[in-house]
């Protein structure tokens, strides 16, 4: 199969498939514009280089790989980047096969400019930072694979300074080999002219642990969908999601966690803060497959509405195919800022506006504290606090790591 045949087949899939993969949530699905032509909005390489330098300087992170709408490069042998048109036949066929029932995945298959392979060696310990910086449309597929008994931490940072409307579409496939521990962090701080489509499929081997932390701060519209399967016996998946919306930002976050084997555990913890006219559709689905004795499935969704016009739909869902010695629970709450907490804080001399910010930053901190990397944690918290203070997002001035008082991170 050639690249052009691959693209043609992917486009046919995309056009023939129904709009959404999961009919149950059709009513709660964010329609997002998927442009046919992704070539617009390109910037000169020099401008993108400057943007990358600025982000590196402000975050104080030396990125192992940089992906832009014009070029992509890696300085780490664990991160291999291939232009889609240079991909070999096996790679192309593999992608179509895996995404055959998924319209959005088919779209990214047909549009991806880069295939990024992240591999960590058996028993090795790796920390990788990858920057996605764009001034226009950007589409990529990322394949993350940990070696057996490896410990890997991959942090992805997404920034966009698009002058015109742009879409970032990224598909992840994650394989966590047996006995390995992998943490994947994704920070989204795109500007208001950018939309995001983020898909992730992942699975764990026996006794493997996969931690997935997603922070959605930027973009006018975010559509994120993840399907994570604890395939290996006694494996563990922990997904933490945090979205903070202001203005008219919209989020559609749909995460499925599946227990396919005995004694495996899957946890989904989602937190959402919405101000102004922002909206979020938060869908968490846990499946307890047949013959999964001793498995644990938990979904906790929490939302805080800072304004009367903000809106959240929280839809936790469980499907239990096996009821012999399994634990499964789900919960959801959406509330305004706790008035008792505000009284408590203001009774200590703190002004109400500051008390509100303190309360929200505490809520945000709870989720961000799950991230292992101190620098990534500081950047994420800093971006969120600046958004809370200044009510803006997606600008480079907001990434200033600083000493932030945070609660101690739970030990794993």
């Amino acid at each position: 199969m050639t690249y052009s045949e691959f693209v043609k087949e992917a486009m046919q899939h995309y056009k023939s498939l129904p709009i959404e993969m999961n009919e149950l949530y059709k009513k709660y699905s964010l329609a997002i514009a998927l442009p046919d032509n992704l070539n617009s909005g390109s910037a000169a390489d020099a401008d993108l280089d400057k943007m990358v330098s600025q982000i590196s300087e402000k975050t104080r992170i030396k990125f192992d790989a940089v992906v832009t709408n014009s070029f992509a490069r890696s300085s780490n042998p664990n991160v291999q980047i291939t232009k889609a048109e240079d991909a070999d036949e096996g790679m192309l066929e593999n992608k179509i096969f895996k995404s055959s029932e998924d319209k959005l995945a088919a779209y990214i298959n047909s549009k991806a400019k880069y295939f990024i392979k992240i591999n960590t060696a058996k028993n090795a310990k790796s920390t990788l930072n990858i920057l996605f910086a764009t001034t226009g449309h950007l589409s990529a597929e990322v394949f993350v694979k940990s070696g057996e008994s490896a410990k890997a931490e991959v942090s992805e940072f997404y920034f966009s300074s698009a002058a015109d409307s742009a879409t970032i579409s990224v598909l992840h496939e994650v394989e966590c080999a047996e006995n390995s521990v992998m943490e994947i962090n994704a920070f989204h701080n795109e500007n208001e002219r950018t939309s995001v489509v983020s898909l992730c499929k992942g699975g764990t081997g026996e006794k493997a642990k996969l931690y997935l932390n997603s922070v959605y701060c930027g973009s006018n519209a975010t559509k994120a969908r993840s399907i994570l399967d604890a395939k290996g016996q006694a494996s563990r998946i922990e997904v933490t999601e945090l979205a903070f919306g202001i203005s008219s930002q919209q989020f559609d976050i749909d995460t499925a966690i599946i227990n396919s084997t005995p004694y495996s555990s899957v946890f989904l913890e989602s937190g959402v803060v919405l101000d102004d006219l922002s909206k979020c559709m938060l869908k968490g689905f846990a499946k307890v497959a047949d013959k999964t004795r001793g498995s644990v499935s938990t979904i906790v969704e929490k939302g805080i509405l800072m304004s009367k016009d903000a809106h959240m739909d929280a839809l936790p869902d469980l499907s239990i195919d096996y009821s012999n010695e399994v634990k499964a629970s789900h919960s959801a709450s959406t509330t305004p800022i706790d008035q008792d907490a505000l009284f408590y804080l203001t009774s200590r001399g703190i002004e109400e506006s500051q008390a509100r910010k303190l309360f929200i930053s505490a809520f945000i901190s709870k989720y961000i504290s799950k991230i292992s990397s101190p620098s990534a944690r500081e950047i994420a918290m800093s971006i969120m606090l600046d958004k809370l203070d200044k009510k803006t997002f997606g600008t480079l001035s907001e990434i200033t790591p600083r000493n932030i008082w945070m609660v101690a991170r739970p030990t794993r």
């Binding site: 009774s347 200590r348 001399g349 109400e352 505490a362």
Partner: protein, 241 residues
């Protein structure tokens, strides 16, 4: 004169809870407010602090002769009023140190950061507050006793002129009651603050020297006296003549 409560009437959700309380607390005095559950003690304490969901329907609260009943809780705090909560709110994600430092900043204290840290360490040691508690979220997952001790730690940071302590002894073991009482007295000796202690039990009062005992029942103060009243209440109950 520090605090004067004049014929105060307070409503919560349309129901009158405090029905005409009059009370005066001067600096360096120790007052105790006792009474059965539901008599309005906590509502009175919260009303003094300015709880936004409580409505003062008549009467007044004066601090140094000026009405504070229209002030916000943070403004009352800045004037030197402190309320130790009976059930302190848990805020997950807000580090205790972050909170203490923010409160210290809000109070506009001239204390240096170094002195602030020394004070935290000293008071924590005296109260036997576990070190790991300082790095944890505010009151989150704390035991009842840990919460009460943390409230007293906050009081030492804010150095109020008037401290209202709502059941500082509940949930504490015998040794912890003594430590908390000693810390309260030590702080009063330093700051000469006025104290209003709300309690059901006499055991914390064994370590204190309250001059004024007030008994509240059905929203009103029905009896007042000196420390001898405590013994009488212990024997005969709140409504004894």
């Amino acid at each position: 004169m520090l605090l004067e409560i004049k014929d105060l009437h307070v409503e919560a959700e349309g129901k009158e809870i405090v029905k005409g309380v009059t009370l005066t607390i001067r600096e360096n005095e120790q007052h105790v407010l006792m009474g059965p559950n539901g008599s309005g003690k906590t509502t009175l304490a919260k009303a003094i602090m300015g709880h936004p969901q409580l409505k003062i329907t008549s009467g007044d609260i004066l601090l140094d002769g000026e009405s504070i009943k229209d002030l916000k809780p943070n403004e009352r705090s800045k004037k030197g009023i402190f309320l130790q909560f009976q059930n302190p709110t848990e805020i997950e994600g807000l580090g205790l140190m972050n909170f203490l430092n923010t409160a210290r900043g809000a109070a506009g204290t001239s204390q240096s950061f170094k002195d602030f840290m020394t004070e935290i360490k000293d008071t924590s040691t005296k109260l036997k507050i576990k070190e790991d508690l300082i790095g944890r979220s505010l009151n989150y997952g704390f035991s009842g006793g840990e919460k009460k001790k943390t409230e007293i730690l906050q009081m030492s940071v804010l150095k109020p002129r008037l401290a209202i302590l709502d059941e500082p002894d509940s949930g504490l073991d015998v040794d912890a009651v003594r430590l908390v009482a000693q810390s309260i007295i030590e702080q009063q000796e330093k700051t000469k603050n006025g104290l209003l202690v709300i309690t059901h039990y006499s055991r914390i009062l064994n370590y204190m020297s309250p001059q004024f005992i007030h008994v509240m029942h059905e929203g009103k103060i029905i009896r007042e006296g000196g420390k001898e009243l405590i013994e009488k209440i212990e024997k005969e109950g709140y409504e004894a003549k």
